[in-house]
Symmetry: C2
Subunit: 213 residues, 2 copies
C-alpha cells in the first residue's frame, strides 16, 4: 500500500503555473507525437471522477485522412454559419480568429459519452442525469492538463455538428459527442487566453463571480 502524497509549496506553485499556462491551442507544429504518450495520456484521463464510478468516456483516435477531412469540412461549414450570425466589427473580428487547428495538429481525439452504459447502476444521477456528460468532460480536462505537463497543447473544437461527427466516425448513434480534440506541440505559449489577447472578451473579476448565502 503506497502512502498518500503530501504536496509542498514548490509543487503547488508549479501546478498553478500549469493552470495559468494551459491554453486552448489552435496553432500546432506538425511534428508527430509519440503514440505511447497519447495512450499514456488517455490512461490518465480515465482516472477522472465519474458519477457512480460509471467511467462513461469513450476515446476515438481519428487516424484516417478521409475522416479527418470530413471533420474539417464540417467545421468549415459550421464556422461559416456561425460567422454569418455576427455583424459589423464583431463579424470582422470573428473572421480573423483562428478557432481550430484541425489541419496541422498531428493527433485528433474525439471523446464521447456512452450514455447507455450500465456501469454505475444509475447511482448519483437520478435527479441530475447530466452528470454523465459532466464526468466525460472531467476526463477531457484531465487529459488536457496532463498533456500540458508534457509540453503538448490541446484545442477543444466545439464548432461541429455532433450528428455529422458520429456518422463520420461510425460510432453508435446514441453516443454523445462531448469534445473533439486537436493535440500536438503548440506554435507558441501564452499566459493569456487567445480570445482575451485578440480582444473578443475581457477577464471577469473574481468579486463579480462569488456570492455568499
Amino acid at each position: 500500500m503506497q502512502e498518500a502524497p503530501v504536496f509542498d509549496e514548490t509543487f503547488r506553485k508549479e501546478f498553478e503555473n500549469l493552470l495559468k499556462w494551459r491554453r486552448d491551442v489552435r496553432s500546432f507544429r506538425r511534428e508527430p507525437v509519440d503514440p505511447r504518450l497519447i495512450e499514456h495520456l488517455i490512461g490518465l484521463a480515465s482516472l477522472a471522477p465519474s458519477v457512480g464510478y460509471s467511467q462513461p468516456w469513450r476515446y476515438i483516435l481519428v487516424e484516417s485522412e478521409e475522416r479527418r477531412e470530413c471533420i474539417r469540412q464540417n467545421f468549415e461549414r459550421c464556422n461559416q454559419a456561425a460567422l454569418s450570425s455576427y455583424e459589423g466589427e464583431r463579424a470582422e473580428l470573428y473572421a480573423k480568429l483562428k478557432l481550430a487547428g484541425l489541419r496541422d495538429a498531428p493527433v485528433h481525439l474525439a471523446v464521447f459519452l456512452d450514455s447507455h452504459t450500465t456501469r454505475g447502476s444509475g447511482l448519483g444521477r437520478v435527479t441530475m442525469p447530466e452528470t454523465m456528460e459532466y464526468s466525460t468532460v472531467l476526463s477531457v480536462y484531465t487529459l488536457w492538463l496532463a498533456a500540458r505537463t508534457h509540453g503538448l497543447g490541446v484545442g477543444w473544437v466545439s464548432i461541429l455538428d455532433p450528428a455529422v461527427i458520429n456518422c463520420c466516425l461510425q460510432v453508435p448513434q446514441d453516443w454523445k459527442l462531448i469534445a473533439y480534440l486537436c493535440i500536438g506541440h503548440p506554435e507558441e505559449d501564452s499566459q493569456d487566453p487567445e480570445l482575451l489577447r485578440h480582444g473578443w472578451e475581457t477577464r471577469v473579476e473574481i468579486g463579480d463571480l462569488l456570492l455568499r448565502r
Copy 2:
C-alpha cells in the same frame, strides 16, 4: 513577460499522483478551513477554460446554517427516493454507502452556470450550447485538483433536486446548478475510488475505452 514553464519528470510524477489520489470525499474532519484559502481556490477555478471565454461560472459560498439544513433535507429526500429504486443486494449496498459529507464538511460551495451571460458573444456554442455547462464543470474540477494540492478534499453532491437548491439559495431561477461541493480535510486518503473499494463498480480497462478510426 514571464517565461513559459517547462515541466519536468519530477513534477509530472507528482501531478500523476494528484490525479491518482484526488478522490470524491464524503467523510470530513470538522476543523475549519482558512477562508482566504477558499477564495484563493475560487480564483484558480476561474482560470479554467470556457467556451468563447464566457467564464459563465458563479460560486455561492453557503454559510448560513438554515440554508445548509435545507440542502441536507433535500439530499435526504432525494437519496431515499434513489434507494427505493434498487432491490435486494444492490439496495442493501446502496443503503450502506456514505454518499455525501454535508453534515461535517466545514465549507459548502454551490457552483452554478449563468446561462444568460452575454460574455463570449455566443462564440463556439451554436452547434453545442451545452459547452456552457461543460465550461462550468471544468471550473469545478480546477478547484477540486487545486484543493487537493493543499491537502483538502472535495465531494461533489449530485443527489439533489436543482430547482429546490436554486430556491433554497435564492439565486436566479435561470441559473443552472452544476455542482454542490463539500470541502474540508478528509478523514482518510485512498488511491481507489470509494465505489470501487465498496464493491459498487469495477474499473474499466483502457483497452475497452479506446477505439481507432
